[in-house]
Amino acid sequence: MKNALRNPYVYVAFILPTIALYFLFFIYPMIMSVYYGFTDWDGLNKPNFIGSDNFATAFRDPEFRSSMLNNVYILLFSCCVQVPLIVVFSLVISSVKRLQGFYKTTVFMPSILSTSVIGILWGYIYDPDVGLLNNLLKLFGAGPIYWLAESKWAMLSILITNAWQWMGFYIVLILAAILAIPKEIDEAARIDGASGAQRAWHLTVPLIKPVVNVVIMLSIAGALRVVDIVLVMTGGGPAGATEVMASYMVNKAIKYGEYGYGTALAIIIFVFALVLTAAYQILFARRQERLEY
């Protein structure tokens, strides 16, 4: 009776297109990346196998090292500044009844927009002559500050834009976890006389730790992936002050045709992402079960 579901031709026809595309655009590029990463390929001549030279070069390359450092800044900023703020805002939103939906919808909004358009929008806000920020500074008699053109401000400007875009996304993630906590627990603590802040800190925060861990892991992965916003806002400048690993990799490959070296950098980024998230899992998030929504 169930022969219809045992038809191998139908099975293959339903699966093959997906597998073919998936293989062509995921598995094959992954294999080729590993291969190119160990060659000196420049896109024109025959690739020569050069062992791990590319990787040794990468760690000696001062420009790549400084771009790595910028990824570290992004990582630290997102984990040490953004995550605490995200938790606080989620708690505050969960504590209000009126307008809760409005707050949630609004803070989430930037994360559905294109990073490139956000880069343009914020580039305009940072504009030294007509931008919003310098307009505000002028009210206090300060400025003008060349946000994106001065080395000491450019990275911070990008960090703020990045936070502006993504914080709401994580707030909504954590908010969902907070709202899923059974009301009775909170009631019981209230009856026992715990204040709002006490309940938030001693009750809610421990209960949402698993999802906070997810947010931290996503932030780590996100910090290593940052590229669009840098390419759009500063192109890595001024003088490499905002260059990140991914933008450096893209430039090396596309602008200078150093495909071998570029893919080696891509592999380094991939390995960093794996190692950092795995290390975080093992050190901090080990015994937590996965969350399902």
Binding site: K2, A4, L5, R6, P8, V10, Y11, F14, I15, T18, I19, F25, F26, P29, M30, M32, Y36, S95, V96, L99, Y103, K104, T106, V107, M109, P110, S111, I112, L113, S114, S116, V117, I120, L121, G123, Y124, I125, D127, V130, N135, W164, F169, V172, A176, V214, A221, L224, R225, V227, L231, A246, M249, V250, A253, Y259, T263, A266, L274, L291, Y293
Partner: protein, 276 residues
């Protein structure tokens, strides 16, 4: 502290946050209607003296925002539709057809894709589309966009299909429906909520994609909004009103979609990241 004040403090904090989100948009919206830079600089939050609607016409026609807009729209739509249909067909075969052990392997194999961050494959994909001879055509975006969405789409749709009880299908098979018929007439309609969510997530991802679009296409007439906008900004560097108009054009469709389908959008995007 009186209760009333205690109740307003959270709202003050949150409204400040909301203002930080919305003020940039307000600034851009007002600027887009202003006639010149002097007016933008001197009265950033004043209403425009004369509403310069012609900025919109100029950006749409002369600055070719219309071209970018339609490119973005049809590429995002077609690859999102293709991705959803392929993923749904695969999810159907994996969860419903009687090839359990093969299905288990294929499922795991596809999920590996979610471990690989997109940027890592960028160079290899660039070389791939170059070798396929489709660099500088819309195929060079359509194929990676469709493929890129597959792992997470298969995961979400398969999870949804597993939660649908099988009785209806059994009855349909007894009535003589074939597997493809079952898929089209029974499973697809039942899975519609999940398909809509996955479609929206894919559509937004494609609509916003920058990296591939920037490097795989360099003909201006093929560009999509995110890359076209950057070129537009670089070309009109000091015409702030026109740049703001361009921003409005690329942001509004997404905001309309968001206003209509915010629940699906939030659910889809967050589900993807937590499970992925």
């Amino acid at each position: 502290m009186p209760a009333a004040i205690k109740k307003t403090i959270p709202h003050v904090v949150l409204l400040a946050y909301v203002a930080v989100i919305l003020v940039p948009f307000l600034f851009v919206l007002l600027s887009s209607f202003k006639a010149n830079n002097v007016e933008i600089a001197t009265r950033p939050f004043g209403l425009p003296k004369i509403w310069a609607f012609e900025n919109y016409k100029e950006a749409w026609v002369k600055a070719k925002i219309s071209v970018y807009f339609w490119n973005s729209l049809y590429l995002s739509l077609s690859s999102a539709v293709a991705g959803v249909l392929l993923a749904a067909a695969t999810a159907f075969a994996l969860t419903r057809m009687k090839f359990e052990s093969a299905s288990r392997w294929i499922y795991q194999f596809v999920l590996i894709g979610m471990l690989i961050p997109g940027n890592v494959l960028f160079i290899a994909q660039y070389l791939l589309v170059r070798n396929l001879g489709i660099l500088n055509t819309h195929w060079s975006l359509f194929l990676p966009y469709t493929a890129g969405a597959l792992p997470i789409s298969v995961l979400l749709i398969a999870a949804f299909m597993r939660s649908i009880p099988g009785e209806l299908e059994e009855a349909a098979i007894v009535d003589g429906l074939s597997a493809p018929g079952l898929f089209v007439r029974i499973l697809l309609p039942l899975t519609l909520p999940a398909l809509v969510t996955v479609f929206i997530v894919n559509f937004l991802g494609n609509w916003n994609e920058y990296l591939l679009a920037n490097f795989f296409l360099n003909k201006d007439s093929l560009r999509t909004l995110p890359t076209g906008m950057v070129g537009f900004r670089d070309a009109f560097q000091t015409n702030y009103a026109l740049i703001c108009t361009g921003i409005v054009f690329s942001v509004v469709p997404v905001l309309v979609l968001y206003a209509l389908l915010q629940k699906n959008i939030i659910e889809g995007l967050t589900a993807g990241s937590v499970k992925g």
